[in-house]
């Protein structure tokens, strides 16, 4: 068997060996090149009567560089969920460099609303095994969408800045037809463009310090949410967000701190909603404003031996408040505390405890507490 395998490998490698010894082979690289990157993770979850090896994901990122100006990137997400392999296109877009400081991208893009999803969503970058409130199921915030964006870096008054301006198909509103108790809720990921209106938004980031350790950002997005021709057609939404990032090695603390957060506001035009419940028509009239935030601090020591320096402590506090009097009214808070061990710069084993408190909500009124324990092994490649 071993001989057979060796023979098989020799046959497979023969063309490669022939190519590398061929005198006509030129080591000079061309301009057109591609690369497979991405990440993978394996997860264990315990709590609330569940102890299981949960989700496992493979998220390949295909990058094709056609020239110094033109590049394509596309990321798939393959995951095991409820016993089935599910696949999703996270993003797929072209980049074209217009000037040395300005790039246009088009396709399914990561929406630059704040920094979390655009920059931090890969599990080898996200310092905790979970995402903050406001993303994921019942999420309010844009993640990825079909559209076009102009982005880049620039300088203003001696300071480094970055900017993004985009047009996307935009979010929609839950009209209550499928889930009556979610009527009036924004649905950020609209797979189908439901109207002619496009979401228009952008982000501006500023680095006040010369060492670029601190970044302050502001994002905004405006969109019409309703289906074309529906009663909700004219309902608009205005979202805005503040984000901050401070990454700095502080000798006084004997380590490197990573402080970041994002404060988000989702304001939707007010109007009464009618829902048919138990055969009778119920009217909900509420101030359709929600807000969500996360505050995260990580610390990685620079003292001690290599084992100690590979450790990282992380804490995150996250909140989500949805409109009073809405059928989906809730107030949620979440604490997540984690300890990471960095095997190398892109491979980590993370353990975390997460405690959620939800008051209200369409799933179960009253106060609900959930404590979960996670182990995640992640690698970026």
């Amino acid at each position: 068997m071993r001989q057979f395998l060796l023979g098989f490998l020799a046959v497979l490698s023969a063309p490669l060996l022939a190519q590398t010894t061929d005198s006509s082979f030129s080591p000079k690289p061309g301009n057109s090149r591609y690369m497979i990157r991405g990440y993978a993770d394996a997860n264990f979850i315990a709590g609330e009567g569940e102890i299981s090896f949960g989700n496992a994901r493979l998220v390949p990122l295909f990058i094709y560089k056609q020239s110094d100006r033109l590049l394509f990137e596309g990321e798939l997400e393959l995951e095991i969920e409820d016993g089935e392999v599910k696949m999703a296109l996270e993003y797929a877009n072209f980049y074209y460099q217009l000037t040395p400081r300005m790039t246009v991208r088009m396709g399914k893009i990561l929406v630059p609303f704040g920094t979390f999803f655009d920059r931090l969503h890969p599990s080898w970058i996200n310092k905790l095994p979970t995402v903050p409130l406001g993303y994921g199921h019942d999420g309010l915030l844009p993640t990825s969408d079909l559209g076009i964006e102009v982005r880049g870096g620039a300088y203003l008054a001696g300071m480094r800045t970055n900017y993004s301006v985009y047009l996307t198909n935009g979010p929609r509103i839950n009209d209550g037809e499928e889930e009556a108790d979610e009527i009036g809720m924004i649905v950020p990921e609209a797979d189908i463009d439901n109207n002619k209106n496009k979401a228009f938004g952008g982000r501006f980031g500023l680095f006040p310090f010369a060492d670029q350790s601190l970044e302050l950002g502001f994002s905004a997005q405006s969109a019409k949410l309703g289906d074309k021709g529906s009663d909700f057609e004219d309902i608009g939404a205005f979202l805005y967000s503040f984000d901050w990032t401070l990454v700095k090695t502080l000798p006084a603390l004997g380590g490197r701190i990573d402080l970041r957060g994002q404060l988000n506001f989702v304001n939707i035009d007010n109007r009464p909603y009618e829902v048919l419940e138990d055969g009778s028509l119920e009217t909900f009239d509420f101030d359709n404003k929600s807000k969500t935030a996360f505050y995260q601090l990580a610390y990685r020591p620079t003292f001690g031996n290599q084992f100690v320096q590979n450790l990282e402590l992380v804490g995150r506090y996250s909140t989500l408040t949805t409109p009073e009097e809405a059928p989906w009214e809730s107030q949620s808070t979440q604490w997540t505390l984690g300890l990471n061990y960095w095997v190398d710069w892109r491979t980590a084993i993370k353990i975390a405890l997460q405690s959620d408190e939800v008051e209200g909500g369409h799933d179960s009124p009253g106060l609900t507490k959930t404590d979960l324990f996670f182990i995640q092994w992640t690698i970026g490649f």
Partner: protein, 89 residues
């Protein structure tokens, strides 16, 4: 909510004007930064910095161009970073 598109349009115009005006010259303290310094600042903002030995010269060309677009760094900064990575791998 009808005012929002107007506000955003004005913001966009101010923003573009600022890019044209402010994007002209690189401040001296930034242009004086080395590739190694920019590599630490730009990459470390989101994730641990990659070892230069992670990729070949050819792969660094792709990876850094990709990150130029993703991390919103300028072409000058990206060129400095890739030169450093190639010299150190």
């Amino acid at each position: 909510m009808k005012k929002n598109p107007i506000i955003l349009t004005i913001a966009f115009m101010i923003f573009m004007a600022m890019m044209i005006i402010g994007g002209c010259a690189t401040p001296a303290h930034i242009s004086a930064k080395s590739g190694a310094q920019l590599w630490g600042e730009a990459c470390g903002r989101c994730h641990n910095t990659a070892s230069p030995s992670t990729f070949s010269d050819v792969d660094w060309d792709i990876a850094v161009k990709h990150m130029q677009f993703r991390a919103q760094i300028t072409e000058d900064e990206a060129n400095k970073i890739v030169e450093f990575l190639k010299s150190a791998n």
